[in-house]
């Protein structure tokens, strides 16, 4: 059995007086897309931020591709090849699309063929190449945030709610983009509230509740089990068909 790309064991995270992650355990298999699901406030975003070192784990261990990053500083986690697309996208509004992407290229200059590939995935990035990122629409900003994360091949891509607030047409575009990313064998951990999006893309799934992982398994198995969905998430995918 190959070593997982991400292995989280017994991770606890405190934010101020609040104990958010209470012993999180799960693994993200190499080359696949794992969906991290759960109700609002379950700790999904905190989990991603803890992996990135933006919140410090008070206990437990986090390993990426065999490297222990539990105590690593955020830039070190990024240097290891972990890219993070936060929920608020975190684009640099005062810089152009080009500058946003150049900043994310550790070599300083994005690879030309990689850039062509990104432009094919998100044509708007080419259209607004010299435009200010702050002037893009919500969907285009999300595309830029993802494009910035994949401007170089990464070991692991962490994406927080990529479809939040997006129009259905843009979500369809996102689904295509993630399918294309899956074909490149990029390992991804995606936090998502849109169950249809999650079902159409996820290979494996981890479900969180109250700071703990309450279920892990195949995405297709969860998608086929309406009772399990209701128990874990409080609603069934079928109810949203």
């Amino acid at each position: 059995m190959p070593e997982p790309m991400l292995a989280i064991a017994g991770v606890n995270t405190h934010i101020g007086q609040y104990h958010i992650l209470q012993g999180v355990d799960f693994e993200v298999p190499r080359g696949g897309l794992t969906m991290l699901l759960g109700r609002n406030g379950a700790g999904k975003t905190t989990c991603l931020r803890t992996i990135m070192g933006l919140w410090r784990a008070s206990a437990g261990s986090i390993r990426v591709d065999g490297h222990d990053i539990t105590r690593a500083a955020t830039p070190d986690v990024a240097q290891l090849g972990v890219a993070y697309v936060p929920e608020n996208m975190g684009i640099f509004a005062g810089l152009t699309v080009e500058e946003n992407l150049r900043l994310a290229a550790r070599a300083g200059e994005p690879d030309a063929s990689r850039l062509e590939w990104i432009w094919r995935l998100f044509p708007a990035m080419k259209t607004f190449w010299h435009g200010l990122a702050g002037n893009l629409s919500g969907g285009q900003k999300q595309m830029l945030a993802i494009a910035r994360a994949i401007v170089e091949p990464r070991r692991l891509l962490l994406v927080d709610e990529p479809t939040k607030g997006l129009a259905p047409a843009i979500i369809a575009n996102m689904v295509e983009a993630f399918r294309e990313l899956k074909r490149t064998d990029t390992t991804m951990l995606v936090v998502e509230q849109n169950f249809h999006f999650a079902r159409s893309l996820g290979d494996t799934v981890a479900v969180m509740d109250s700071g703990r992982i309450v279920h892990t398994g195949r995405m297709d198995a969860l998608a086929a089990d309406a009772a399990l969905q209701t128990r874990l998430l409080g609603l069934s995918l079928d109810a949203h068909q």
Partner: protein, 334 residues
């Protein structure tokens, strides 16, 4: 050629281009078109303050760091030259040693402040720089045998620099060259990272940039810029003292010049410094003229009396900030 000189950062506004060319032409030809010691003093001060304000904008406008130690580095430049020339005599060697010592000291202090305090929140960094700057101001006034205390130091320069025209063009040339160098810095990949840190430091960190390293380098570059400005000012005045370099009033003036010109735009430093220094020097004259011409009318001559120039300067700044919240450059580029 022009593209390389300006690092591709053109003014991007016809009005701004005209104003910048007028300022540059005015400074370059000042000894010939504005005869008299006073106007040349104003022109030299504008050149020095353009460099001083541009180096501060690298911190405030481009990196989002509020520092109150900029006049300390300005003072270190001035005192470096002043002490070396006063103690070692008017030689080129003494001048070079003074400049080198000032730059080395500024670099060491900026590095130490940066590495020790740029990890903390912005407000604490501002307080630390305020404390260090106050310490230096007290040091300069207490160590009178070395610094001349409150009286400062008057000194002689090597013979070539005693010629006012030569000194003026040295000041202008060095200030212009370093301004262009700062323009290069902010338009380099390093400058882009600084902007990214200013906009969203957590995001910049998550991409893989070590904030403290970039902020410390920006702090060092700004400190070196201020030190050279201090050196130039001391060379021009042939004097250095607490009131001309270390005063907290100068720090406030620098902040106002950055805000009025436009934060995060190097050209804002040119406009802000020029407008401020010219207003500081000529507003009283203008008011004297206005007051004289309105003689006989009630209230107005008294209101425009030259003694009230600070009041009107204040009104001008309030109007500037109110009508140009993004600074003059921001307004002209809109």
């Amino acid at each position: 050629m022009l593209f390389r000189l300006l690092s591709g950062d053109f003014p991007r506004s016809r009005a701004l281009t005209v104003v910048l060319i007028a300022i540059l032409a005015g400074l370059a030809l000042a000894p010939f078109i504005f005869p008299g010691t006073r106007s040349l003093n104003v022109a030299a001060k504008v050149a020095v303050f353009v460099l001083l304000v541009a180096s501060y904008d690298l911190l405030l406008g481009y990196t989002g760091i509020v520092s109150f130690a900029h006049t300390m580095f300005f003072g270190i430049g001035g005192y470096g030259v002043g002490i070396a020339m006063a103690k070692m005599g008017a030689s080129w060697g003494a001048l070079a040693l003074g400049i080198f010592a000032a730059l080395a000291l500024s670099l060491a202090i900026a590095l130490a402040i940066g590495l020790l305090s740029l990890r903390v929140r912005a407000i604490f960094f501002a307080m630390i720089t305020l404390a260090v700057a106050s310490f230096f101001q007290i040091l300069a006034s207490q160590m009178s045998p070395v610094t001349g205390g409150e009286d400062g130091l008057s000194f002689r320069l090597p013979e070539l620099l005693r010629e006012r025209l030569v000194a003026y063009y040295v000041v202008l040339g060095v200030a212009l060259a370093l301004f262009l160098a700062l323009l290069r810095v902010v338009n380099s990949p390093f400058g882009r990272v600084l902007l990214a840190i200013r906009e969203n430091e957590f995001r910049a960190e998550a991409i893989g940039y070590r904030l403290v390293n970039y902020r410390t380098v920006a702090n060092c570059l700004a400190a070196l810029g201020a030190t050279v400005a201090g050196v130039l000012y001391a060379i021009w005045l042939r004097y250095t003292g607490p009131d001309t370099t270390l005063s907290f009033n100068i720090m406030i003036d620098i902040l106002l010049m950055v805000v009025i010109g436009g934060m995060g735009t190097m050209y804002g430093a040119v406009l802000g410094a020029t407008l401020f220094v010219v207003a500081q020097n000529y507003l009283q004259d203008l008011m004297k003229l206005a007051s004289g011409s309105l003689e006989g009318l009630p209230l107005l001559p008294a209101l425009l009396h030259p003694d009230r120039w600070l009041l009107w300067l204040g009104v001008l700044f309030i109007l500037c900030v109110y009508y140009f919240p993004a600074g003059i450059v921001g307004r002209l580029r809109r």
